[in-house]
């Protein structure tokens, strides 16, 4: 078995705007980068009958998600000319209006970063074993399902 380094993608609770800024800031020293593409998933206060979503509680099959993410990361680096790629996903409760997913790709020219970011978002939603439990105003809940 070849060695591989799994990178943790999970953060406890919401991804803060400050964490995003710090991540952007760190790339100012990489002067071969010409383009960054960022996707942020934000929890919506959807109306469910009489109730509203107040937050989503995320759980994951963490070991498998990190293995899968490793595989996706390798495939995307293979396919696009990227300089960097960063993924962060929340675990635990994220309130409506807060960020639960942060996908960040960088490249010399814009197409690679943009296409890689799009593909990452699709694959993360379809392939990572993560579950969101929507918490409603009356403290009942329902399980989210990605379409």
């Amino acid at each position: 078995m070849r060695e591989k380094k799994l990178k943790n993608i999970f953060v406890n609770g919401a991804v803060s705007a400050q964490a995003i800024a710090d991540s952007i800031q760190k790339h100012h020293s990489k002067t071969n980068i010409g383009a960054h593409s960022i996707f942020l998933g934000q929890v919506r206060a959807d109306q469910i009958g009489e109730q509203q979503v107040t937050g989503i509680n995320y759980t994951a099959y963490e070991e498998m998600a990190l293995e899968k993410m490793y595989e996706i990361r390798e495939a995307i680096f293979e396919k696009y000319e990227l300089t960097c790629m960063h993924i962060h996903h929340s675990l635990g409760l994220v309130a409506a209006g807060e960020i639960c997913l942060f996908v960040f790709t960088s490249s010399g020219h814009r197409k690679a970063a943009m296409q890689a970011c799009d593909e990452l978002v699709e694959r993360i939603k379809a392939e990572l074993p993560i579950w969101g439990k929507e918490i409603l105003t009356d403290e009942s809940h329902q399980w989210k399902e990605n379409k």
């Binding site: 998933g41 995320y58 759980t59 994951a60 099959y61 070991e63 498998m64 998600a65 293995e67 996903h89 639960c100 997913l101 978002v121 993360i124 939603k125 379809a126 392939e127 990572l128 074993p129 993560i130 579950w131 969101g132 439990k133 399980w143 989210k144 399902e145 990605n146």
Partner: protein, 77 residues
């Protein structure tokens, strides 16, 4: 021969636990059948099965110490 069963999402609610051990399970079909006998409401829930973190399709033989995860549709992101 023991296998470890991991449950996720709504399955943790239905079974009231997120992890259990089953004995004498020759394959994944036996696991599904045993759980369905014990929790008939399982028939209404769609789930995929991963054995040692690999999603499987169809039935798969099990050996001692394997981990079988029952995973409802994903909803990350």
């Amino acid at each position: 021969m023991k296998v470890e069963i991991l449950l996720f999402g709504r399955l943790t609610e239905l079974l009231g636990q997120s992890r259990l051990q089953l004995e004498d399970m020759a394959d994944t079909n036996s696991v599904s059948k045993r759980l369905l006998d014990q929790y008939p409401a399982l028939q209404h829930i769609r789930y995929q099965i991963a054995v040692n973190q690999e999603i499987i399709h169809g039935n798969k033989p099990l050996t001692d110490g394997m981990t079988v995860a029952l995973m409802p549709p994903f909803s990350g992101g």
